[in-house]
């Protein structure tokens, strides 16, 4: 007994200086505080160190900041010779030391010092204490980093220092940031509800992620249960109706959790209870062999209950009864109803605006996907749409373009320059490949379109394997120049990366190029003539062989450029083309063969569909693709010739 009293007295005595210090006694220096709390500081724990750190922070001693900073950065140590606290700066062969009051204390070897290594929890507490000093630090960068710390880890005690530093802030950007943080902290931590509501209302229409992060905890709810007929306590969000809002099982689990009803027996517990009561190969007179249904097991348990051998467990009827005898409701974690009302009204305003913004973002995504499909398909629109040649190796031309870009980057380290070189080079390489393929293979198969499919498929797998043999199976990077990094950001929700913008622009350029080529040039005229009627075109002096060759080369060349665009955001592998070939064909077929506007419409439809379906179930892009393809199969039923179908003689067959 005496020992206990002595211990109590000891504890009280040790707390005394703290109690005095907490009031900000200016007489006591920071060094003194550290010394007084030696044991705590040497072996700090997150739970108990708080008062010491607050005392240090509140001491008003300018050295306190240094000490805290050093402590957090593992710059505080104990000199082994006399046990004094020292501030250490690392030097080449040990530490340069200063005493806690800032006076120089010479140097020491590494072995002479015991470093204090507070754990990350303690360092967090120290960092929070330091924030108030950093907020008024003359260095702008320090102030900015303090604000980041507050935004990342808001705490009630930060509100006061933040407010205090608000008026003195001279930098307008930081001032605005401080003001916003102040309001965010106010709405969460201010003791005065009116101030909180005012802070909440001041955010009306704001979309910031930080605001939603601050409001959501206010509106977090917990489910609770109370006996029928009693008044519900707490800030009620809504009352729940068992059966519609929550299942009977959930409702009963709530009752069990609130000790309002006995636990229900799980099948495993029931089984364990039965096993524990096996007597002579039977449970409560029922032979073991018969206990192979749940009903029989229930009967056995009831028999055991009657015999008093097992605790009474709730049966299904009892569960229903006790659920009916209780009310279920959700309460807000926040006790003040006016605050939650204000928060939910602001939040619902945000939701609406958020929905609109998400729609806008989705539209951007869909547009970007559509432009990728368009780029991949435009070459096909020429070879398949205009010439009716199925080129299964189209995907491999895309891959060839991407690899060309990769190889060019190996030789030209400047990414912008290499891109400028790679684009025409990719066109040339795939143009040549296309022309070679047309001359050697496809020319002989114009009358047999299905066999072009086979022959070009053969070329496709050969090219794929060739790429694998040359470049290996691992993905090769095609790095975009620095000015394409980052994203065009409208606000927290609506943003699009510059690469995608570039691809969109590229797609537009190609659309215009294609239109110009087909409608405004001699070549385009001849291509259209040969497509419609080769023999008539030939008798007009057009060489169909040459035109076919050029058209095919053109389509392949565009695939090469598309390959660079696609390679910029996807990894370059030998299977790159595989991922796009079916979608590209679908784009052309859905859009309507032989019409560039059709291809555009097809790409838009496929892109929008895929993104739209993804929106319903964002975690599952595979499902989105599945349903997109199913939709297209159905769509083809109703418009077999595509969205924009050629009519009349131009339609050919």
């Amino acid at each position: 007994m005496r020992a206990a009293v002595a211990a109590l007295v000891l504890v009280l005595v040790s707390l005394l200086p703290l109690a005095a210090l907490a009031q900000g006694d200016p007489q006591v220096s920071a060094a003194q505080i550290v010394e007084n709390n030696r044991a705590q500081i040497e072996k700090p724990s997150r739970q108990t160190i708080g008062p010491v750190i607050s005392a240090l922070a509140a001491s008003g001693d300018p050295q306190a900041v240094d000490i805290l900073t050093a402590w957090a950065n593992r710059g505080l140590g104990l000199r082994k010779s006399d046990g004094a606290f020292v501030l250490m700066t690392e030097t080449a062969d040990g530490y340069a030391l200063r005493l806690l009051d800032g006076t120089d204390a010479g140097t020491a070897a590494r072995a002479d010092i015991t470093e204090l290594r507070p754990n990350s929890g303690v360092r967090g507490v120290i960092a929070n204490a330091l924030v108030q000093f950093q907020l008024t630090d003359p260095d702008r960068a320090r102030r900015a980093s303090a604000l980041t710390t507050i935004a990342r880890d808001p705490a009630p005690e930060l509100l006061e220092p933040l407010r205090a530093s608000l008026e003195a802030e001279t930098d307008p950007a930081l001032r605005a940031q401080k003001d916003r943080l102040n309001r965010l902290l106010t709405l969460r931590f201010d003791p005065d509800p009116a101030a909180r509501i005012a802070a909440i209302d001041s955010f009306s229409g704001d979309l910031g992620l930080d605001l939603r992060a601050a409001l959501n905890p206010l509106l977090a709810t917990t489910r609770r249960a109370a006996p029928q007929g009693t008044a519900l306590e707490g800030n009620i969000a809504r009352e729940l109706d068992p059966g519609s809002d929550l299942t009977e099982t959930e409702a009963y689990d709530l009752l069990v959790a609130a000790n309002l009803a006995p636990a229900r027996l799980t099948p495993a517990e029931l089984k364990a209870a039965l096993v524990a009561n096996i007597v002579d190969g039977a449970v409560a007179g029922i032979p073991l062999a018969e206990l192979n249904t749940q009903a029989a097991r229930n009967r056995a348990y009831t028999a055991l209950e009657v015999a008093g051998l097992v605790p009474i467990a709730a049966t299904d009827e009892e569960v229903t009864q006790s659920v009916a005898a209780h009310r279920f409701f959700e309460t807000y974690a926040e006790a003040d109803a006016s605050v939650t009302a204000a928060a939910s009204s602001v939040l619902s305003g945000i939701e609406i605006k958020l929905g609109t913004m998400q729609m806008a973002d989705l539209t951007l995504d869909a547009l970007s996907l559509a432009s990728i499909y368009f780029l991949a398909a435009i070459g096909l629109a020429i070879t398949f749409g205009v010439m009716r040649v199925i080129n299964m190796a189209h995907g491999e031309f895309i891959m060839m373009g991407a690899y060309t870009g990769y190889v060019v980057q190996l030789f030209i380290p400047n990414y912008t320059l290499s891109l400028v070189v790679a684009l025409p080079l990719a066109f040339l390489v795939t143009f040549a490949a296309g022309v070679a393929m047309e001359r050697l293979v496809i020319r002989h198969l114009y009358k047999r379109p299905l066999e072009t499919l086979l022959a070009t498929f053969g070329i496709s797998i050969a090219l794929q394997q060739l790429a694998k043999n040359i470049f290996g199976t691992q993905a090769r990077p095609l790095t975009s120049p620095a000015w394409l990094d980052g994203a065009l950001t409208f606000n927290d929700i609506v943003s699009i990366s510059y690469i995608r913008v570039a691809i969109f622009v590229l797609a537009l350029l190609f659309l215009m190029f294609f239109l110009w080529l087909m409608k405004r040039t001699r070549l385009g005229l001849e291509v259209r003539a040969v497509t419609q009627n080769p023999s008539m075109a030939a008798s007009m002096g057009i060489n169909p062989d040459r035109i076919n060759m050029l058209t095919f080369g053109l389509g392949s060349g565009i695939a090469g450029i598309a390959g660079i665009a696609i390679g910029l955001f996807a990894k370059v592998t030998s299977e790159l083309g595989n991922d796009y070939i079916v979608q590209s064909f679908m784009t052309v077929v859905v859009g309507g063969v032989g019409n560039i506007w059709g291809t555009l419409a097809g790409a838009l439809m496929i892109g929008t569909l895929q993104k739209g379906i993804e929106w319903f179930n964002p975690s599952n892009t595979l499902a989105a693709q599945t349903y997109m393809i199913l939709f297209i199969i159905l769509f083809i039923q109703f418009r077999p010739r595509g969205i924009i179908a050629l009519k009349g003689r131009a339609a050919g067959d």
């Binding site: 192979n292 499919l453 086979l454 070329i459 050969a462 394997q465 079916v582 064909f585 077929v589």
Partner: protein, 410 residues
């Protein structure tokens, strides 16, 4: 019309004879029933090849005879495999679970067994309940019925939609390819109820045959596959021999003309499409127990294109051509990619066939399409001294690479 079916089609008899001799020969050379010359894994390869031949036969009927280049028949093949795989996996897991539960003090309830099976099968995709598609997995007869019904109904629905709106030629090929891709992507999902990209595995262990060694089972499956191939050959030969065969060949050569003659082109096409889908599914149901594992990668559109390529290399529009093409290319493929083919040292570069086989294969498609549209089957015409009719350059039909030898005789 007085001559019997077999007399009019001597190739059927020859084929069946060769097939039975082959089966007999393999049996004699097998480990289980003969002199142990062939390893069990090679017998499995042969059995699988027979199944692929059956699928190629279906492909030949739909493409070589009816002119529909379907790029979806490997999807039906894999679906058949999935259907039988579900029973194999369920029944085997059931056995394991019952053994595990029998050690407990109380006899297991049906629900406990069910839960145990579900946890075993679906633990890998993080689920613990049997999805609805496994409703019939406990019963072999029902699941066998599904082998035929699921691909058959899918083909029926898809074909009805496609043929009704007169999607033909290249468009139909692309549409079937899209269907295959959609199915593959669907099965790749973990919540498709068929274990996502893990697929179904352990299919080589036949429930109820625990005491029988794989040596024997592999030969049994070879017999079954050979029997199925023989029956399939008879069936397809019979289908294409009569008036029905003439109509579908006519559809291949000029669809519009057949329609104007009053035939229901869509009906014929739909029948052939569904029939071939079912044949492919049966082939798949025999293939995957020998392969042991099935996953959605088997449905990739490329697999169906390979099927078409086998038929093209063997020779379209002749049944033995399809069988020869499938057997030759798939056996060569496994020989080359298995690393058993000797490398060729060119001095400055060594051609390693594992890397170069696909290139050789791809280029030989091109060569076959360009120079030998009749494929390997064309050699038989050469042997018999048959020549294609010389029409002075005018095409015989839209698909002039695909002639029957009988037509060529006239």
């Amino acid at each position: 019309m007085t001559r019997t079916f077999l007399a009019r089609n001597p190739s059927v008899l020859i084929f069946l004879l060769i097939l039975s001799l082959f089966t007999l020969g393999v049996t004699v050379l097998s480990e289980a029933y003969g002199i142990a010359f062939l390893s069990t894994s090679f017998i499995k390869t042969l059995g699988k090849t027979l199944c692929l031949c059956l699928a190629a036969l279906a492909m030949d009927l739909i493409w070589g005879y009816a002119g529909i280049l379907s790029l979806g028949h490997m999807a039906f093949f894999a679906l058949g495999g999935y259907m039988i795989g579900m029973w194999l996996m369920y029944a085997r897991t059931e056995g394991i679970v019952i053994t595990a539960l029998s050690n407990e003090a109380l006899p297991a309830t049906a629900q406990e067994i069910q839960n145990g099976i579900a946890a075993q099968i679906f633990g890998v995709v993080g689920a613990s309940e049997l999805p609805g598609v496994w409703l019939f997995a406990h019963s072999l007869p029902l699941q066998l019925a599904l082998v035929v019904l699921v691909p058959g109904l899918l083909a029926l629905a898809f074909g009805w939609l496609a043929f009704r709106s007169r999607v033909t030629g290249v468009y139909l090929s692309i549409l079937t390819q899209a269907m295959t891709l959609a199915l593959a992507l669907y099965l790749f999902q973990n919540d498709s109820g068929l274990r996502g990209n893990n697929g179904l595995s352990g299919l080589q262990n036949i429930p109820g045959l625990d005491g029988v060694s794989q040596d024997r089972i592999s030969v049994w499956f070879l017999w079954a596959s050979a029997f199925a191939l023989g029956m399939g050959y008879l069936l397809v030969a019979w289908v294409v021999s009569g008036k029905f065969g003439s109509v579908i060949r006519a559809i291949r050569d000029d669809e519009a003309r057949v329609r104007f003659l009053g035939y229901s082109v869509e009906g014929y096409k739909l029948f052939v499409f569904t029939l071939t889908a079912i044949i492919a599914a049966i082939a798949g149901a025999l293939y995957y127990p020998q392969a042991g594992i099935i996953n959605p990668a088997e449905l990739a559109p490329i697999a169906s294109i390979y099927l078409a390529v086998w038929v093209a290399i063997g020779g379209r529009g002749r049944l033995y051509g399809a069988v020869i093409g499938a057997a030759l290319v798939s056996l060569l493929s496994s020989w080359f990619t298995g690393g058993r083919a000797p490398s060729i040292n060119l001095g400055f570069y060594t051609i390693n066939w594992v890397d170069w086989w696909l290139i050789l294969l791809g280029l030989s498609f091109v060569a076959v399409t360009l120079f030998a549209p009749k494929g390997i089957g064309g050699l038989f015409d050469l042997l018999q001294g048959l020549r294609s009719p010389d029409r002075k350059g005018a095409p015989l039909g839209p698909d002039d690479g695909a002639l029957l030898e009988k037509e060529a005789k006239e």
